[in-house]
């Protein structure tokens, strides 16, 4: 059985006819060619398929495409804007927080959801927020460090924005750490 759905994906409206049993992951990958979200287990255990659904992180292998009807989805492809990387993407690069890269999109998406809720997370907050994103390569240390660095940069930018762009000076190490 098929159903027509309309949803916002990375800021663009998409309308498509999908089989009702199709997962959001399969729809994104096969229907929209958004292959950043990966299939690592297809049972919600590895986090490689993490996307934001109305701003909240979900394993897209456990969500049906029809459940996303009328809602908003953000994938790794929609996190930055053209040439401007999201602070998390920059921090993952500068902290050597990537190895094979298969878990990286899901990891960054989970971290983005965390920083939206908690702009200044503790070590424990970061570890808990990423506990559902498995990585077999990195040992996680540089990933956790990258999330803290991105959080610092985002707070610095936010504080500048709050004060009309002319507020208190931003310590350079906070921006680039």
């Amino acid at each position: 059985m098929k159903k027509t759905i309309t949803l916002e994906v990375n800021g663009a409206l998409e309308t498509a006819e999908v089989e009702v049993g199709t997962t959001l992951l399969r729809f994104l990958r096969d229907g929209l060619d958004l292959t950043g979200a990966k299939e690592g287990c297809n049972e919600g255990e590895c986090g490689s398929c993490m996307v934001l659904l109305d701003g909240r992180p979900v394993n897209s292998c456990l969500v049906l495409a029809v459940e996303a009807d009328g809602r908003s989805v953000t994938t790794i492809e929609g996190l930055g804007k053209d040439d401007v990387l999201h602070p998390l993407q920059k921090a993952f690069l500068s902290h050597a927080a990537i190895q094979c890269g298969f878990c990286t999109p899901g990891m960054i998406v989970s971290a983005a959801a965390l920083l939206r809720e908690k702009p200044d997370p503790s070590e424990d907050d970061v570890r808990k927020a990423l506990a559902g994103n498995l990585c077999r390569c990195t040992g996680y240390r540089q990933i956790v460090d990258a999330v803290h660095a991105a959080a610092a940069e985002m707070r610095a930018v936010a504080s500048v924005d709050d004060e009309g762009g002319a507020g208190k000076p931003v310590a350079p190490e906070e921006v680039t750490a």
Partner: protein
Amino acid sequence: MTAARSVGLDVPRVEGLEKVTGAAQYTADLKFPRLLHVAVVRSPHPHARVLDVKTERAARMPGVRAVVSGRDFPLHTGIYLKDQTVFATDRVRFVGDPVAAVAAETPEVAAEAAALVTVDYDPLPPIFDVEEGFAPGAPLVHPDLGSYEVVPWIQPKAGTNVCNHLKIRKGDYAKALGGAWRVFENVFRVPQVQHVPMEPHVSVARVDLAGKVEVHTSAQSPFTVRHLLSACFGLSHGDVRVHVPYVGGGFGGKAGINLEPIAVALAMRCRGRWMRFMVDRHEEFFATVVRQGLTATLVTGVDRSGKVQAQKMHYLWNCGGYGGYGVNIVRAAGYTCGGAYEFPNVEGDSIGVYTNRPVGSAYRGFGMQEIHWALEQQMDKVALEIGMDPVAFRLLNALGAGKSTVTGQVLDEHAGRVDLCIRRVADEIGMDPGRAKTPYRGKGIACAVKAPAMPNDAASSVVMKFAEDATLEILIAGIDYGQGLMTVVAQFAAEALDIPVETVRVRGCPDTDLSPYDWQTVASRQTWATGNAVLRGAEEIRRKLCDTAGEALGVPASELILRGGAVVHEASGRSLPLARLVMGYQFPDGHAIGGPVAAATSYLPEGLLFLDPATSQSAKPVAKWTFGAQAVEISVDPETGQVTVEKVAACYDVGRVVNPGLIKGQTYGGIVQGIGTGTMEELVLDTRTGRALNASLMDYKIPSTEDVPAVMSVDFVETPQKDGPMGARGIGEHTMIPTPAAIANALCDACGIRISEMPITAEKVWRALRAKENAAKGADAEAAVPSSVTA
């Protein structure tokens, strides 16, 4: 113009942008027109004769395009020992052994059709235990072992389950044991574990209408895949083309050949169509390869000074149903059987045994974590028994310059310094023998050593060429599946040619039609072997650029140097930017010289010698050794038995740190993977049915962020490797070798118990603590009765 330095600096990963944006394409991300989907019929029996395979009903199902089984493809394959066919023909040897396969228009139809294939089996008695498989008269897993093709340096024993046996005989073990002050014998065990790459195995294949085979696959070794596919299907290498896009982790599990033959077999029956074979996470656990199990029996004889005089090592490897790759782990564990120590008198036996478990193959460290689990606990036990500090005992017996390995190779001063690694990690963790003890907190140490385990002629090569704007393009066929090969290749080239690293592009997703040859990405050999090929290529390019520039400037080429992206004549201050030279130089009158600058270079390890077949003595059996050590501090919850690794210190002699951020990543990753196999992981089989009981990420736990030690301290010694690129040697695998043994030794320090069988689970610790308590109570009770006899 300033010099462009890059080796030793934190150059960001060159393919990082692709990976953080989602642009990086892995095999399952590639799009193919009218893709067919593959489902495999697998044996439900651990050991059975295959009497008949009926595929007719499956073939008639609408949407099915091809069905194949063993009778269609009888040729054997295997990288060292050809003991496997594409599909089981007369016999299945583990639960999951492929018997037939289906290609269909949708995954659902493929799965339904696979269920319609009926197979008649005659079950045979299975063997799961390695000692049972090794015992005389055990049922044979491979009755035809004597007829298999095998490379000359692997020694299977026809009429037994032994697929390889490597013997080390050094000095006079029996005499030394007789003269020893004290002798200790212990047995240690390691179960089979799974690699758990985040990307499951996947291969896509097509045979075009002209008969050319094309494969896109998640693999560590495109050329070895091509070589083995050609042999398996009787094709010319020239008619098989293998592409490897980005690979989502491998750790050895994607070395050699894996899913590719099944996809190609189906493609041969359905010309012109692409088909994708992707295992699901469940199959990944038992139907792809796993790490071999080990039972190690060690005997150590020491003299009064604490020097080991006699050492016996008996390693029995549980290879599972096929040993095509695993036989070389058996060999590597043999010639490395003494670990990081000098043992003057050695009796070593490393024996691979077929069983009816999942297939054992390469896993990061290639047998080394397993033997170090045994050896490093044995060293600790012996030290404590004779009243010596485990750190001092290790330093007394450690290998180093002028000392000889178990094969009789005498190490020179370039070989690396395990002694420095031991001292640094012991200092970092605070292992002073007089330290104050806290109940249920302990410290432990373990060493590590590994050499590349590969054929003596395993080669790597590169092609280096320029684009018009002097962007340097480097084609490699080593796979960067996370370890950072593409980045270090760019760094070596940039450093050698004195050009900005940003102007280098490494083409790291090989295509065997276009890329230069590389044996395999295994054995921690790429930075070293491909790195050396790059330096040779850079030298050739430097020479060509200087020849052309010399003619252009009218000065001798020998007076020119490369600096900051230009060829410079220092005496006159004149220079030419590379962009004016890389396509040839044109004089003001219009005539041109030189031409597009490129180089094709290779590296083959030099001077390696076979092992003596009877004693395995050899002056240079391997290209290089990388030594290291780790020390850990742990805490134990006495109520639950849960072990928490609080702090880890790691130190390796890597020759040269090429990229600090990447090498730290390798080390953190290795430590945490070591904590996984050391404390959590085991592929559990039901010993009645041979089926895996924990084949999911829910039941087979690997470390998450919450299992990472609070502190991981990483340090490196840099004793340059003589034949290493800018002194570098391999490190990728070594980082997970000593972790489990160091944890086991810390556990003994914390509460006086020893777990001899990996992993150190809370349950095992809890049981051992209760047993210790009960023994203490028993001893108290016995002590109260003066006449009782106690051991």
